[in-house]
């Protein structure tokens, strides 16, 4: 009977598009989770309807003006007590069992899974593909910009979609369809949580620990990815996209492009790409606004006051100062900041480009 129930509730959830209650169902776990959801849902609906019907019936049938006596003072019935203890016990055990089975599958990634690392930081994502050593950004900033431009009418829906597609060429969490993917989750600063509603997976990113989740995407497309553990100011802006490629070849092609820089571009433009791709964008503004880190506007060539090992110092922000700040971010902490910058591993070229980019922001 359990088997029958499981399959009949799962069949309620075979649809892949969003339903009234649940988002698109496009991973190997979605049918199980949705089946469990609808099992609990219909049990709940049954009891809610039963209880509500009884409440309304009794309110209607037994309501009486002040002073009227109740027609019964019966206060116990052992059979009823056993029934309404026993039935919930049985139903609860079934729910626990389904949840347990579904969860154990989720907690056990297959050995042949492709491994991607997702690193969360205030307030950006970086996804790295160990097989090729490529790090791509979650591009939260770009998605927010596009969203805002769409809302203010600067972009039409098509233009926005186009720009999103353009961003996704070099950003986002990309996976091939029908391939087990294990995502190791890390956090650089505070708690975050990787949440992909369409896959029904979620895992907290805990600093100092490596968490993991896995899934097998079943439908090519683009899906939302959120941070679901509160992490401060940019929490709700810390979203990105998951792209499910229709084939392994397609995915490989994307990865090759994402890993490359178009080195024909001027250094300053390449530097701007690094600024976005490596997540500098979330803490360093270009317009003078004070964020978690100093703005890059007018930074180059300016005199920097800092604390090093508890003593104050100052220096002119030249090439070597910038390189040092990138490689050893906690060495010299700029005055007025708390020193929250993680070590972002940049290649020599990337450091060069970023430095040129910062130079270009001189006033």
């Amino acid at each position: 009977m359990m088997q029958f129930l499981t399959s009949s509730f799962q069949s309620l959830a075979t649809q892949t598009g969003p339903t009234f209650w649940l988002p698109e169902a496009v991973s190997n776990f979605a049918p199980t989770v949705d089946g469990d959801f609808y099992f609990v849902y219909w049990v709940s609906i049954f009891f809610l309807v039963l209880i509500t019907a009884l409440l309304i019936l009794f309110m209607w049938k037994y309501s009486a003006p002040e002073g009227q006596k109740a027609t019964s003072q019966n206060d116990h019935n052992l059979v009823l007590e056993i029934a309404w203890t026993g039935i919930p016990v049985i139903l609860s055990l079934m729910m626990f069992w389904y949840g347990y089975k579904g969860y154990v599958a989720m907690a056990t990634p297959p050995a042949n899974a492709m491994v991607i690392t997702a690193e969360a930081a205030k307030w950006s994502w970086n996804f790295s593909y160990p097989a090729s050593g490529t790090v791509v950004s979650g591009a939260s900033e770009d998605f927010n910009e596009i969203r805002n431009a769409l809302r203010s009418g600067e972009l039409t829906a098509e233009q926005a979609a186009e720009r999103e597609a353009k961003v996704l060429e070099k950003a986002g969490l990309h996976v091939p369809v029908n391939t087990p993917v294990q995502v190791n989750v890390l956090a650089a600063d505070v708690l975050h949580s990787l949440f992909i509603p369409a896959f029904r997976v979620k895992k907290d990113c805990v600093p100092g620990r490596i968490g993991q989740l896995w899934f097998e995407a079943t439908e090519p497309g683009v899906y939302s990815l959120y941070c679901s553990e509160y992490c401060g100011q940019g929490h709700s802006a810390m979203h990105s996209k998951v792209v499910v490629h229709p084939s392994q070849e397609d995915f490989d092609k994307w990865l090759a492009v994402a890993a490359s820089y178009d080195e024909t571009l001027p250094f300053t433009e390449l530097g701007e790409i690094v600024w976005k791709r490596k997540g500098c964008v979330s803490c360093h503004s270009l317009d003078g606004a004070m964020k978690t880190g100093p703005t890059w506007k007018g930074l180059f060539g300016s005199e920097r006051k800092y604390t090093e090992n508890g003593t104050l110092g100052s220096a002119i922000a030249d090439e070597s100062y910038i390189e040092e700040s990138i490689r050893y971010p906690m060495k010299k902490i700029s005055d007025g900041y708390t020193g929250q910058m993680p070590v972002v591993k940049l290649t020599d070229k990337e450091i060069l480009w970023v430095t040129e980019f910062i130079k270009s922001l001189r006033q």
Partner: protein, 579 residues
Amino acid sequence: MKPDDKASAGSDLSSQEVEQTSQETKISGPSYLTVTNTLTSWMFTLDHKRIGLMYLVGVLSMFLLGGVFALLVRTELFSPIPLITPLFAGDDAGAQADLYNQWFTTHGAIMVFLVIIPGVPAALGNFVLPLLLGAKDVAFPRLNLGSFYLWMCGAAFFVYVLFSGGVDTGWTFYTPYSTSSPTAVIPAVVGVFILGFSSIFTGLNFIVTIHKMRPKGMTWFNMPLFLWATYSTAVIQVLATPVLGITLLLLILERTLGIGIFDPQNGGDPVLYQHFFWFYSHPAVYIMIIPAMGVISEIIAVHSHKRIFGYRYIAYSSVAIAIFSFIVWGHHMFTSGQSTMMNIIFSGITFSVGIPSAIKVFNWIATMYKGSINLNTSMLYGISFIFLFTIGGLTGLFLGVLSIDTHLHDTYFVVAHFHYVMMGSALIAFVGGLHHWWPKMTGRMFNEFWGRIACTLVFIGFNLTFIPQFVMGSLGMPRRYYSYEDKFQIYHQLSTIGSYVMAVGFFLTAFYLIQSLVSGKKAPMNPWGGNSLEWHTPSPPPLENFHGVPSATDPYELDQFDYDPVTGNYSSQSSKGLA
């Protein structure tokens, strides 16, 4: 609707201004409200009724404050783009988001620590508990006053936090965000720490009072169920709250000295903080809901004029919930990275808490069967509670199921679920209990017509606020979001409208309750026909609670009374406990 017609016919009678002529009140002398009248007589009072009343004023003021923040949050979320935060925070997008984060944190912290936890036990419980026992006061009146001043002190810290830049960690103070947030975390945490002691002392007081001060003839199994509930709650308060205190102290030390227990930068573990925090804060959920269940047991029985169904099952289920509440904390952490084995164990135990809750609901409904139900304001709140608590409980099942919780964790589904339990249940029961005991506390009747209208508004508004949150949550809307995807906007808008409807209901309630103090009809001794001891003394009671020493009644022997439509009083020849 038929039942309403019947009920309002009853209220027409009671709305006539009738002088109270019953024998009892003539001989009663001054009440606890009028016996002395100086400021110091209130400030240094050892009378549990005055202390309860002062708590009530404090809790309701904080409810207003927390409610204002809820409305700010809901208003902001009407649109995914900044709506009202720019009015307060200027043009800087970061400052706007920070402000929003402070709003929801302040709302949560005030409602949990200053309103719901002390609401039923400290405000209503203080007033009612000794009366239910036929006692003159609680066991330790001075400690009781001390608890109140600790509460005031904790509240003062919160007010200070509001004026010193707020706090933005969420009410859970999760590390390492709380150890690195530049906001006023330490004052807020100190406030909660102090409130914890207020709660511990109240719990201790109630345990001793119930053990030592029951009147002659009152065994454990003919105590009113409210006392079982308060007792179970007090046990949790005394055993669990110290853990919160230690946790918060460690958090302060982590922030100030960097001791390295919770902050991974110093070798600490943020998940350990979550274990410590929820080891208290899960039982705290039951500190909030068990006394509410106790109130509902009284309301449903008295206003149905029928013996409570399954007394022992309700009593034992309170104790069972109190015990189970200590061993389910891990279900707040299913996605935190705690081990798979731990998740499975906690999921299994979590379902055990559902069973006693279900037992209570069915017994309350069975109590209504063949009763004589007055659909007055208190009863409407009681029935609202059963409905809302059912939804709160059933949606908890989704979250207990490991596979589903992985999807729903930290979404609006969770937000809606705990609001159904914390607000739809605990707070609604508090408001219901406030109406139930209002005549006893103040000596005045409130306007039943407006009471019912307000209750209906609150009920509709509440559901409109939180049902859309279930839907958007299961669709994937994460909680604590300042901005969101456009596809969620319709749910947010419905929710915001619902919160306004609810606000109207609560303002209306405040209005007619204050009006009743000024010009309400004088309350008779026993306006609802209850038989627990508080209904056997004048409304409001004299300073010493009873003229003479009352002896125990059977609190659920409710069919012995005759209603006098002139005085609005239920009286009985055989009723015991009178001087």
